[in-house]
């Protein structure tokens, strides 16, 4: 992927080593990536991101607004993005549910933005202070209609920082909302976070159109990223609507145009999955069992994997850093080569459905599900690995 990047603006980069929680690291990552607008509504366990951004905003010259609710927060972000800012908001399940309508609008209008979901146990208001990974499908299928979204899942405060930058870069290039699916545990866990010098951080800047005014088109439906935007108020003539639209942005509500737009929206993400998907693999080669996990669960699974290896089981680890688009290609490659995929997650079995789909019956798939509220007992994952090895 050959994407133009620039060094980060030093104003937003608090370089050096820190002992920081994941929530704060998300805010620092956003500021380093050039985010200068944040509209949100506080909710446990994501409030620390909100607070950190609010505290840092005056120093950095960013705008922070506590809106009246999540619906307004996401709407303000769409507006600010078309006003030329890089924007972020943070929430968790109940707030995300309120945001999905306008996340769909952002996807349809190809508005770059980052939404962090620090997941807590649901359904509904559930258990606000307890961890979970129950919103994995919601990130992609929350908004109605066909949406190809990008979602990333960090496993540590350091990765919260790193992935916040990556989320902004992907969001700017593909002009798509990017969701960071973290969880209460990573959000509140403190670890060392090293923030590099600004000139070491690569940032995708807002791609602003500079050509003749009459030629400006806010959209190009070619299934690719990298298309320029403009800022409202700069004198360019364009339209932003959730209705099916032409390249100028005006409604063209026909089946033919819908095919053009939806194909583009899906293909710009799914067609570039090889460039977007990032995995962290360990000892997959020759493995009989592969544990597919993400976020905090991958760190719990490590303990089970280490114990299984001591028992002589050939077990590999595939940690999904990118959740959406799903790592379809890699699972299909491994299907049939490994005996079993073991999929632990802090939900009743969500991403395991994707693994099963791509395994296509060629490998066994064992779901190690959990109702949330705590992390797995590693022994339960170990037992699944043993079963998978039989």
């Amino acid at each position: 992927m050959n994407i133009k990047t620039v060094p980060a603006d030093p104003k937003g980069v608090d370089s050096g080593p820190h002992f920081m929680d994941g929530d704060h690291a998300l805010a620092e990552g956003a500021l380093a990536a050039g985010c200068r607008f944040f509209a949100g509504y506080p909710i446990t366990p994501s409030t620390e991101t909100f607070e950190r951004f609010a505290e840092r905003a005056p120093e950095v010259g960013a705008m922070f607004i506590q809106m009246e609710d999540e619906l307004a927060a996401i709407a303000a972000n769409i507006g600010a993005a078309w006003g030329g800012q890089k924007v972020m908001t943070v929430t968790c399940g109940p707030g995300f549910s309120l945001m999905v309508e306008n996340i769909g609008l952002a996807a349809m209008t190809e508005t770059p933005m980052v939404i962090c979901n620090v997941q807590r146990a649901g359904p509904s208001t559930g258990a606000p202070t307890l961890t979970a990974q129950q919103d994995m499908m919601q990130a992609k299928y929350g908004p109605h209609g066909d949406n190809a979204m990008i979602a990333l899942s960090p496993d540590s405060p350091q990765e919260c920082f790193d992935l916040a930058i990556e989320a902004f870069n992907l969001s700017e290039y593909y002009r798509v909302p990017v969701v960071i699916l973290t969880d209460e545990t990573v959000g509140h866990m403190h670890e060392k976070v090293v923030i590099p010098a600004a000139d070491q951080i690569k940032v995708v800047p807002r791609n602003l159109y500079t050509g003749p005014k009459e030629d400006f088109r806010p959209y190009k439906f070619d299934g690719k990223g990298g298309h320029p935007m403009t800022r409202a108020g700069d004198g360019y003539h364009f339209h932003v609507t959730g209705l099916t639209h032409n390249e100028k942005g005006y409604p063209v509500v026909t089946a033919d145009q819908n095919k053009i737009v939806v194909t583009h929206l899906m293909e710009k993400i799914n067609g570039n999955a090889d460039d977007i998907v990032r995995l962290d693999e360990d000892q997959i080669e020759g493995a009989d069992v592969v544990v597919v996990s993400y976020g905090i669960t991958s760190r719990i699974a490590v303990k089970a994997i280490q114990d299984a290896r001591k028992e002589g089981i050939k077990v590999g680890s595939l940690r999904m850093i990118t959740i959406w688009p799903f790592c379809e290609k890699r699972i299909r490659e491994l299907a049939g080569k490994v005996k079993t995929f073991v999929v632990p997650e802090l939900n009743y079995g969500q991403m395991v459905l994707e693994v099963e789909r791509c395994a296509g019956g060629k490998s066994k798939v064992i779901s190690v599900n959990h109702c949330g509220g705590a992390v797995h007992d590693p022994e339960v994952i170990l037992e699944a690995i043993r079963k998978g090895n039989k």
Binding site: P17, T129, H188, E191
Partner: protein
Amino acid sequence: MSTQEIRFSGFGGQGIIRCALITGKALSLFDDKFATMTQSFGPEARGSACAAQLVVSDDRVLYPYITQPGILMALSQEAYDLYYPELPKGGVLIVEEDLVKLKSDHADLALRRVPATRFAEELGNRLFTNLVALGFLTAVTNVVSADAMKKALPGLVPDRFLKINQKAFEKGYEYGVEAVNAVGATL
């Protein structure tokens, strides 16, 4: 790879989570170790038993939770009652001696007692109890260096109270050194 697991406990408001933050920062920024801190998060952290956990290692900490703490610092009766049974034989038990009534002599543990609240009150405010206890812990165990702990303080205590917190740390540290000298070795 050597791993140490520490649980800091007391009641909400004693600065328990702050203890783990300071120690975690000292270890990971100034003592060249890896440290992962998790904490009580919820209504229980505000008034009743409160705990923060630190996993310390020479390598990256993968599993973030403690499995069996080798060191327990208990600054309240409730915390002591709740957590001392999980210490293994030879484990280090540090208690606030005026607030914790021991249930046994704990002959199988390395028990160390510190009147942290009393010392803090002598310094002017019981708010400094946690720093006295941290100074004591630093002296009686080999987990973290005093130098790193002192470096970790700025930014984690309010600027205007930095000096008095440093003093509280020193007070606990000196008392801990005396305890070590009495026994002849750190733990």
